[in-house]
Amino acid sequence: MSPAGFPAAAGAGVEEPVVAATSQRVMVLRRLRHDPVAIVSGALLLFILLGVFAGGPIAEHLLGHGPDDIFLGSVPDGLPVGPLTHVPNHDQAYQHFDGTTLFVLGADGYVGRDELMRLLYGGQASIEVALGATLVAMLIGVTLGGLAGYFGGVLDAVVLRAIDFVMAFPIILLAIALGSNATGWLGSLTAGGLLRPGVPGLAVFIGLATWFYPARIVRVQVMSLREQEFVEGARMVGASHRRILLTHLLPHLTGPLVVYGTIVFATNVILEASISLLGVGIQLPNPSWGNMLSTNFGTLINLGSSEYTPPTIWTAIFPTVAILVTLVATVTFGEQVRRALDPRAR
């Protein structure tokens, strides 16, 4: 294909060598495809998402019980059963016992629910909260950071003070203080049944606490970008501020934002766990990785006692490992994307 406007054959019978321009997107994807670490971490991430969102209902169908079903037989002698135990089935009134059902990862604690089911459905809640919070944080952060960096002046000063304030505030303690008042209201929101109970409220709360991170990054980036020639050029031909921000500056930010998004996501998973752990985030009986950790936490709060034994080590290990694997996969994938975006950067 020859460039438009030029005759195709200048020299008789000689084809021009075709050099297709490679777009940034294609190059990044190509680099990622050749990066084993990116492939492994990306596949792991996909596996976790599929496992949690599709695997949850499938496992419920196969095993025949849900995350909130209580089986008295799963806590013999007051201790939850270990992994791969068959637990007797019973009806609501605990009158008729009929066969057994399999607890793949054992029971979740004194109550007697299936740890695997709670891990899968709890993962849905945790990931939904973290993703939602990341979206909220990115939306606020990019908007405020972009405007502050672009316009500077008073707006910049106000945004910076706001960043200082959010950074200074002990978010967990705020969650406790708010949770004492607003838990009922937060816990009942489901965004029209689309998300698990408590997810939207908690996501917005965490997003409001973590937007400062993308905001700082975007602000500094925009400050340096706005001095570049292409912005000057756009301004010279009469582009509005809105057009410059949205069509000239924003595309330069998407790459870094994807990468920082993974870090904010990781932070938010930990924050969800931290808040639900205290009993003010996702409310029982709805599972989340955070309140699953609290199964252990409940027995922990005997201050000064050095003789502390968890009821069973499994209830602490499973949610911890789930969080660990998810975060390592996310952060590693983000790091590989960063390298693919800018191979020379160290």
Binding site: A168, N302, L303
Partner: protein
């Protein structure tokens, strides 16, 4: 310089004012029925509710309420615990040293570890060692500090018997156990937990800054004059890396104190974090004065630390005054 200090302190004052507004809102405005918090019975009569609301002062206009609240704050009165009746200020005064010990000691260990690992990682750039040093700490952020704390505690104090089982011994005087050696032995595991939580980001930051600085002309000159690697790093590179490290630490003060809550719980340390948690799990319900008092104290500390860090940074490098101190640049 003087103008900058005034400006920075003024903005810190504004932040403190906003902080008092938020705290006030949590304290009095968000609860739909604040009187219920101080009534002992679950089903009070309307008269009891009215009396309780009058006692808390929530039947007065909002502005009056806030001014009274602010007046009490300025006089150091943070209210009394619903549970024990102890003034919140005295709770904070007695337990803040525990939290400070955890955070300050942990920060020192964090700085040392991140400098050592960051330099190793930068010098062995893109080797397997570099990869291990910069990837392993990933576990630090991916694990909850509470989980790390519990694992360390059960491994080192329960199974290996190398460390005391938890609890706190004051540095000086008082209590059953005290003195520097007990203080140190009870705090080593909390410090390690704290360090692991923040280490990955810090190692990466030191590594990047060292690599950047190694490319600077003055380092090339030092190398050209035959300076040894140790001298290049110690004398020509580190002085440029340390301010960024200090600035990052000041910014992370909020996150650090959050981590401290879980570390205190994991090791049974009676600090501000455990206080706030107990206030939340007490038998009388939420002990709001204690929680908001601790929120106030911690946030005010972080705001003050950030202001001090900015002022010191501008003092060290006056070019920053044009911007707004190091906290804005990362």
């Amino acid at each position: 310089m003087a103008a900058y200090v005034v400006r920075r302190l003024a903005s810190a004052a504004v932040l403190l004012f906003v902080l008092s507004l938020v705290t006030y809102a949590i304290y009095f405005k968000i609860p739909s029925n604040p009187g219920m918090y101080i009534i002992g019975t679950p089903h009070p009569t309307p008269a009891q509710i009215e009396a309780a609301n009058h006692k808390l002062g929530v039947d007065q206009p909002v502005v009056v309420q806030y001014l009274k609240f602010a007046d009490r704050l300025l006089h150091g009165n943070l209210g009394k615990s619903y549970a024990t009746g102890e003034p919140v200020l005295s709770i904070i005064r007695s337990d803040a040293p525990v939290t400070a010990s955890v955070v300050v000691g942990g920060a020192v260990l964090l700085i040392l570890a991140s400098i050592v690992l960051g330099i190793i990682s930068a010098q062995r750039g893109h080797t397997r060692l570099d990869w291990v040093v910069s990837s392993l700490p990933l576990l630090g952020i991916a694990l909850h500090p509470l989980a790390v704390g519990l694992i360390l505690r059960s491994t080192f104090s329960k199974h290996l018997q190398l460390a005391p089982g938890g609890g706190y011994c004051s540095l000086m005087g008082g209590g059953g156990c005290s003195g520097p050696e007990h203080w140190l032995s009870h705090l080593i595991l909390p410090w390690i937990t704290f360090t692991l939580f923040l280490l990955p980001l810090y190692v990466r930051m030191v590594r990047t800054r060292v690599l950047e600085t190694l490319d600077e002309p003055h380092v090339m000159v030092a190398r050209g004059k035959g300076a040894a690697e140790r001298r290049v790093i110690g004398l020509h590179v580190m002085p440029l890396v340390l301010p960024s490290l200090a600035a990052m630490l000041a910014m992370d003060a909020g996150a650090a104190l959050t981590a401290a809550i879980y570390i205190e719980v994991a090791f049974g340390l009676p600090g501000l974090g455990s206080d706030a948690l107990f206030a939340q799990q007490g038998f009388v319900g939420f002990d709001l004065p204690v929680i908001t008092g601790i929120v106030m104290a911690i946030a005010a500390t972080v705001i003050a630390l950030n202001a001090i860090a900015d002022i010191i940074a501008v003092r060290l490098d006056p070019r920053l005054e044009i911007g707004r101190g190091v906290t804005g640049l990362r």
